[in-house]
């Protein structure tokens, strides 16, 4: 019996996997171009990670600071990414973000406004000008809801709670995907001429993370197995401030705006320790005394153009995360293993108005009234800069017909992402991916589904039930998380990375025999985890290998044994792919050559940084 008659089969021009900002935007574009488009996601529509984003969308619209423009945004992004970003992506991103935001507004998004009725923009770490388009502290919700409404009225077919486990290929090109319905456990085949992966990140491989259960690296793993390459997987962002207590919410994000609005970081001796960690290259922008830092806050609050330098708490995320980590490690942490983030010296009304959801989050979940007492915070695994390697103009991967966008794709952010640059990334590259996927589908002939591939995928899922002797997936998952947290965390050393790879090899073997004894295929989270686990372990390996390869500290990647930049590694991206023997290969790939005019734009900047880094 052929696969198509054996399994529920749907045929489309474009299949978009993932319904976050990137996936929705891609599907909207593809369908607008006349492609028959399907959108598949693991959760219900509108629940993807994008919904949790708080701060805003970075776009140089120059509504508040007229000096802003795409060039500055480009420069900021490259500097934030420590110059290993894909320059073309950074350029397209900076140029197109404002139009993508305006388009959202036409589709019904209601952003906060300036006095003269334009879209308001706020300041954020690493952005020279006030640039983040926002709605209070729930920008992601606004974005996903708007795209969702637009999408459903445009006739995209949405397959909710349907998880893709394998990409199907027809020779070299993509042929579709194999998935199961979470509700019934039934298998389904999507036959399609082009596939766009927008599956988000990998945070669930870590114990302490701001990410949800969906972030198991599915897209990266699917692409890897299909023959695509993974770029710069060592660059994993640890957000400096996650909650550390109570246990149930550890890792939950505490937005950067807390520090932007006057929050101070202190250790258990009451010291504002970030003043000890200011790198020379940031001295021109960051105050060296508390008095000056306080003056900056006062000036910002008064709506004045600041004359003081920024508080040390507003250093880039990687530096603050490391600072906090050192305090805890050296015994100056808070009772629950974090440090104190205190905004209680500001008037209570101000705090409640500026940070409503943080106020409620701490009050409801931790019994902490942040207007009166300090919060306890520590670094949390937040975002992966690396991802599927794509052509910057088309978002196509190394596999013809396979595209990727959003957090699942790599390149734009380099070694460190600036706050707000992800939501704009989703819009800009989601659109490009959808557009080129539709274009690709127009010229491609109908794909053929290979029965053996489909049956193989079904067998893999069935075996989690039929094996009798394997381990429980929850157990292995917990071990993976602990291991990654301690061996491939904020600070990395050769020794620990080697150990992590050994441990991953054993975990991989154990996971290959994992099984589920309870329940049946109907909505069985244990069964789902069996498969997710395979992806997490694979991606964890890519992260560890890439981290081992890059023998320097750059952006979010810190090697205790290789502090500082290394000119050799400044010239390369890391690329992981599946070798002929089925084992993971890793190599350095030269950065693409930047055109002269852009080079000039960042040259002064870069020289300074390379000298003092």
């Amino acid at each position: 019996m052929s696969a198509e008659s054996k399994y529920e089969t749907h045929e489309y021009d474009v299949l978009v996997i993932g319904a976050g900002g990137a996936g929705l935007r891609a599907a909207i574009e593809a369908s607008a171009m006349g492609a028959r488009t399907a959108l598949v996601c693991k959760s219900l529509l509108g629940k993807a990670h994008t919904v949790m984003a708080e701060g805003g969308i970075a776009a140089a619209m120059a509504n508040v600071d007229p000096q802003d423009g795409w060039e500055t945004h480009f420069k900021d992004t490259m500097r934030g990414g420590v110059f290993v970003n894909n320059w073309r992506m950074a350029q397209l991103h900076a140029q197109q973000a404002p139009d993508r935001v305006r388009e959202l507004e036409r589709w019904g998004a209601v952003f906060d406004r300036t006095h003269d009725g334009k879209i308001l923009q706020r300041a954020f770490g690493g952005h020279t000008y006030r640039r983040l388009v926002h709605v209070g502290d729930r920008t992601g919700l606004e974005m996903i809801r708007t795209l969702q409404e637009k999408g459903v009225h445009q006739g995209i077919d949405v397959f909710m709670e349907c998880a893709v486990t394998r990409l199907l290929k027809d020779g070299d090109r993509i042929a579709g995907a194999f998935a199961y319905w979470r509700e019934t456990g039934r298998y389904v085949i999507f036959k399609s001429k082009a596939v766009v992966l927008c599956t988000g990140g990998i945070g669930k491989a870590y114990k302490i993370t701001s990410n949800s259960w969906e972030y198991t690296g599915d897209g990266q793993a699917l692409a890897y197995h299909a023959g695509a390459e993974l770029l710069d997987m060592e660059f994993l962002q640890f957000h400096p401030t996650g909650m550390v207590w109570p246990p149930g919410v550890s890792g939950l994000l505490v937005t950067e705006s807390v520090r932007g609005d006057g929050g101070q970081l202190r250790n258990n001796k009451g010291e504002r320790f970030m003043f000890k960690h200011i790198p020379d290259r940031y001295k021109p922008q960051i105050s060296e005394t508390e008095a000056e830092a306080n003056q900056w806050i006062a000036e910002i609050r008064a709506g004045k153009q600041p004359t003081a330098r920024k508080p040390a708490e507003l250093l880039p995320r990687d530096i603050v995360a490391r600072g906090i980590y050192m305090e805890v490690k050296e015994g100056r942490g808070s009772p629950h293993g974090g440090v104190f983030l205190d905004i209680s010296h500001m008037p209570a009304e101000y705090v409640k108005k500026k940070l409503p959801s943080m106020y409620h989050q701490f009050k409801d979940l931790a019994d902490v009234d942040i207007t009166r007492e300090p919060m306890e915070v520590g670094p949390t695994t937040h975002y992966i800069m690396g991802g599927i390697r794509v052509n910057p103009d088309t978002q196509e991967s190394a596999v013809p017909g396979l595209f990727a966008a959003g957090e699942a794709a790599g390149g734009l952010h380099g070694a460190n992402r600036l706050g707000g640059n992800s939501l704009s990334d989703l819009l800009v590259f989601g659109k490009l991916a959808g557009e080129h996927a539709a274009q690709h589908a127009k010229t491609a002939g109908p794909p053929k589904v290979d029965d053996a591939q489909a049956d193989g995928a079904a067998r893999e899922m069935n075996e989690f039930f039929t094996r009798a002797d394997g381990e429980n997936p929850y157990q292995i998952h917990a071990e993976l998380q602990d291991m990654m947290q301690s061996l491939v965390g904020i600070f990395r050393v050769e020794d620990e990375l080697r150990k992590s790879l050994e441990k991953l090899a054993t975990l991989k073997n154990r996971a290959a025999r994992v099984c589920i004894k309870e329940g049946n295929k109907m909505f069985n989270p244990g069964w789902h985890l069996c498969k997710d686990l395979q992806n997490m372990i694979l991606i964890a390996e890519a992260v560890a290998r890439a981290a081992q390869f890059r023998k320097e500290s750059r952006g979010a990647h810190s090697r205790l044994d290789h502090p500082g930049f290394n000119p050799e590694f400044a010239k390369v991206n890391t690329v992981a792919f599946k070798g002929r023997d089925g084992a993971m290969q890793l190599e350095g790939r030269p950065l693409p050559e930047m055109p002269a005019e852009l080079k000039q734009l960042i040259e002064t900047e870069k020289n300074h940084k390379e000298r003092h880094g």
Partner: protein, 254 residues
């Protein structure tokens, strides 16, 4: 500190089921969702439950705890009496899939029937915060569907074929009050959406985790707008003598 709390969780599917007892090791600051996760990890790997954000932002983890519709990730164990058993059931109004997971797809179908933002020809997109404030309250909705679950028109009277439910009244209010929208949805409200079925008893407002004033700020203003068009005798009279269809809307700015 190894305090133990008794949980009763509904286990079953559309063919029936029962409350099953579990003991949960209590940790400080625990929410009900943590308890469910612990049960999954240690006692019932296949216990079905939806969640995503664990921070009351995504609206996935709706259920009924001791009879009250709530978000599991926002319901603290220490809000209950120490002796109280925590009983967790799926939301009642939607067909059960398994354990705590229900089929809420009806809501997505309803959403498709609501005409989206249709900008006026004159829209210049200069919008002021005063106008945004009213609409932004509605945009806070995280689609947890707790209001749909508790609304007696859907829950007790099962009138899903005649009434869109409070969530979609919020959605329509948001569009109707958008300063750039040029469409009039009052006829839809009166007929297909079944606004008249709501008897403003406010249970939706009581359960909304986003604290949207669903009844006062969305439903009642919509009822008044429908009354303008369909039930106001003075306006009807005025319309008659003026022979106009839109008596005051032009002067009022619609």
């Amino acid at each position: 500190m190894a305090e133990v709390r008794k949980f009763k969780v509904y286990r079953g599917d559309k063919n029936g089921g029962q409350l099953t007892e579990y003991n949960v090791q209590v940790e400080p600051g625990m929410v009900v969702l943590d308890g469910i996760h612990q049960i999954q990890r240690t006692q019932a790997a296949d216990l079905a439950c939806r969640w995503n954000c664990k921070a009351a932002k995504c609206g996935s983890c709706s259920a009924e705890v001791n009879g009250k519709p709530r978000l599991l990730c926002k319901t603290r164990l220490d809000d209950f009496d120490p002796a109280e058993i925590i009983t967790v059931r799926p939301v009642k109004t939607f067909p059960l899939i398994r354990d705590l997971v229900c089929d809420v797809s009806w809501n997505f179908e309803v959403n498709k029937k609501i005409p989206p933002l249709t900008p006026k020809k004159t829209a210049d997109w200069v919008m002021h915060q005063e106008d945004m404030d009213r609409v932004q309250e509605f945009r806070k909705c995280i689609e947890c569907f707790l209001c749909q679950n508790v609304c007696h028109v859907l829950r007790n009277h099962d009138l899903k074929d005649r009434f869109y439910g409070p969530r979609f009244m919020v959605r329509i209010a948001c569009l109707e009050m958008h300063p750039m929208d040029g469409l009039d949805r009052t006829k839809l409200l009166k007929d297909e959406a079944g606004l008249g079925f709501c008897n403003i008893t406010k249970c939706c407002t009581e359960v909304c985790p986003e604290e949207i004033h669903i009844t006062d700020n969305a439903i009642i203003p919509l009822k008044e707008r429908v009354a303008d068009r369909h039930y106001d005798p003075l306006r009807a009279f005025w319309r008659k003598i003026m022979g106009a269809d839109h008596p005051c809307t032009c002067a009022d700015g619609g």
